[in-house]
């Protein structure tokens, strides 16, 4: 929804489109909050619009194109696909609308800046955390997200390669199963995985919905806490699991910062300032012990109150 923060002195307020991959995940809510905060501070209008069907590349292109028609001043986008969004974004840029990419990269060098987590690194970090907890050996599984999602595939690759390179005694017993697009399908896949490998010692899940699905399955089978779960992203439910030590560690990104920097950098571009081509918003591994640290607490429970205003 549009958020007017006019300066009131009659000057035309800049309008920045912020386009997430979907609209219902906490992750995107945090980005929205960050973008709104920055917009309010800088006196620009933030237009927030996601694709009607989550994970639908075509629908996201539709959104970009309608912002082109609406002639916004800048676009901040988390592209659903590194290739598919290249054309419409290039068209935007050629129409004089600068583009800043957040969250996942796009195969196009005309973007002004790329602000994201290093997903590969995040996956590798999770591999280390899992291996350390298991003492360097044991049987683990990885439950993938859906087919064709770039950022989670990087995490998955980072995890698998991290294990293979640094923890040769860890045996990965399953890595081709997928949690699917919905939480419900993730729960089912997790239950079956747990049933199939009774002697499993650790699991890695590459995103919020799959981690949550796995957590539910572990809780339900009474194995929560005894099987080491390392996941990605935060949500109130996952934080709760972390506190109860049902989750060993969560790799946390900083979506609020991502949204905020996205808007800040686009305004920098519009005002002619130089912006760095790559900004790493960092990925932090949070455990039950470190979750109370203020920096981590802010990441785990971002302040989203701005959305309600």
């Amino acid at each position: 929804s549009p958020d007017k923060t006019g300066t009131g002195n009659g000057a035309k307020v800049r309008r920045i489109a912020v386009i997430p991959k979907g609209t219902t995940h906490e992750f995107w809510k945090s980005i929205h909050a960050g973008a709104l905060a920055a917009g309010r501070e800088l006196g620009v209008e933030v237009l927030w619009q996601g694709p009607i069907k989550e994970d639908d590349r075509n629908a996201q292109i539709d959104v970009v194109e309608s912002f082109l028609a609406k002639k916004v001043d800048g676009i901040v986008i988390a592209p659903l696909d590194d290739k598919a969004l290249a054309r419409p974004l290039r068209e935007a840029s050629e129409a004089g609308i600068p583009v800043v990419i957040i969250d996942s990269d796009v195969a196009w060098d005309g973007r002004k800046s790329f602000i994201a987590t290093d997903n590969y690194k995040g996956g590798a970090l999770c591999a280390d955390a899992l291996a350390t907890k298991l003492g360097g050996k044991g049987k683990v599984a990885m439950l993938r997200y859906i087919e064709g999602s770039a950022s989670t595939e990087k995490r998955e690759r980072g995890f698998l390669e991290g294990m293979a390179n640094n923890h040769p005694d860890i045996k990965i017993v399953s890595s081709n199963q997928r949690g699917g697009a919905t939480t419900a399908s993730a729960v089912s896949a997790s239950e079956t995985l747990l049933g199939r490998f009774g002697d499993l010692q650790g699991v890695f899940c590459p995103n919020e919905s799959v981690t949550f699905g796995m957590l539910r399955a572990l809780q339900d089978s009474g194995k929560a806490g005894s099987i080491v779960l390392v996941g990605f992203d935060a949500s109130p439910k996952l934080v709760e699991g972390l506190a109860k030590r049902e989750i060993e560690a969560l790799a946390i990104q900083d979506p609020v910062k991502m949204g905020e920097l996205g808007v800040r950098r686009i305004v920098d571009v519009l005002e002619g300032r130089d912006v760095p081509a790559r900004i790493d918003t960092g990925v932090t591994l949070v455990t039950a012990d470190s979750m109370k640290e203020p920096a981590n607490a802010r990441l785990l429970d971002p302040d989203l109150s701005i959305l309600d205003k």
């Binding site: 809510k29 919905t182 239950e191 079956t192 539910r216 339900d220 089978s221």
Partner: protein
């Protein structure tokens, strides 16, 4: 004649048996035939199963309901919202069922009052209910507060380790079984059920025999909505989250279960227990594919093929009869 109808009733059993045997013999699928896996699969069948109970009534009456998935999502959100407002699990369940029932009622009214074909009316509801779910949830997953989880025992409804352990199956599974038995009995033995079959079999005859077609159809779609609503409650219990984007496309799974279970989309034929076997068969197939470590596409292709095979066997049988 009667041997044909017995064969017909047996068909989903045979299909299920084939699926079970194939995976039981598969070297990779250790643990497939374990009681534990059976428990898990039963639990995974609950949501499609509950929705399929209502859908059986719809399909036997010669209609179709495409709004099932959206209604499930809407009711799961309603359930979570009620819990968040701390009204307790029972009221949450009732609200979810009512939400589903209202959607179904609207379907029924559109079909009878506006005389819109069921396909179109429920296609409209598919969008409307999904949109409503996103709307009331503020386009966000609605977490059930921990208080409701602990005290009220929302999770217990769909837990694989039910509270009195002798229950063995989760209360959700028992609810489905119980409801399926009642529904099967209602469809076969109650006045309403016979009217449903009569409408699907020959609507003109039903009208001439003085059956109140409109009233019956409205009841049918309301029941289907209520079943989907209960499924939405179970989904919320399973996930401890009300999710407006959940159950996307589930309507087709539900229809597939009913069709595999022996119902004809032309109406007049089909039974609740067959639909349950159909749903169970699809769940076992999915479980088996995962157990053997097959990719998801194998499962998709298999289910597609099974739908076609099940129905063509039926057509062949009927042509020979």
């Amino acid at each position: 004649m009667t041997s044909g109808s017995i064969l017909r009733a047996l068909r989903p059993c045979i299909g299920l048996a084939i699926v079970l045997t194939v995976f039981a013999l598969h070297p990779q699928a250790e643990g497939f035939l374990s009681v534990f896996n059976f428990k898990i699969v039963a639990n995974q069948t609950v949501i499609v199963g509950l929705a399929a109970i209502g859908a059986t009534f719809v399909i036997v009456s010669g209609g179709i309901d495409l709004s099932v998935g959206s209604i499930i999502a809407l009711s799961s959100v309603v359930c979570a919202l009620v819990l968040r407002a701390e009204y307790g699990v029972t009221l949450a369940m009732v609200s979810a069922i009512i939400a589903g029932c209202v959607c179904g009622l609207v379907n029924g009214l559109m079909i009878t009052m506006l005389r819109i074909a069921p396909f179109v009316a429920t296609l409209g509801m598919l969008g409307i209910a999904r949109g409503a779910a996103k709307w009331i949830s503020g386009e966000q997953k609605v977490d059930v507060p921990p208080a409701a989880l602990e005290s009220g025992g929302l999770q217990a409804w769909m837990s694989n380790r039910p509270d009195p352990e002798w229950l063995w199956f989760s209360p959700g599974v028992w609810t489905t079984i119980l409801l399926a038995l009642i529904a099967a009995y209602v469809l076969r033995r109650s006045v309403f059920g016979i009217h449903v079959t009569a409408i699907g079999s020959n609507e003109k005859t039903a009208r001439l025999c003085g059956i109140r077609i409109e009233r019956t159809k409205i009841a049918i779609y309301s029941i289907a909505g209520a079943c989907a609503g209960l499924a939405g409650f179970m989904l919320c219990a399973r996930l401890t989250v009300g999710n407006p984007t959940a159950a996307l496309g589930k309507e087709l799974d539900v229809i597939a279960a009913v069709v595999i279970g022996g119902a004809s989309l032309a109406g007049g034929q089909g039974g609740v227990l067959g639909s349950m076997l159909g749903a169970l068969m699809m769940a076992f197939l999915a479980s088996g594919c995962k157990m053997t470590g097959s990719a998801t596409y194998v499962q998709e292709i298999l289910i597609g093929t099974i739908i076609v095979v099940a129905v063509s066997v039926d057509v062949l049988q009927r042509r020979r009869a």
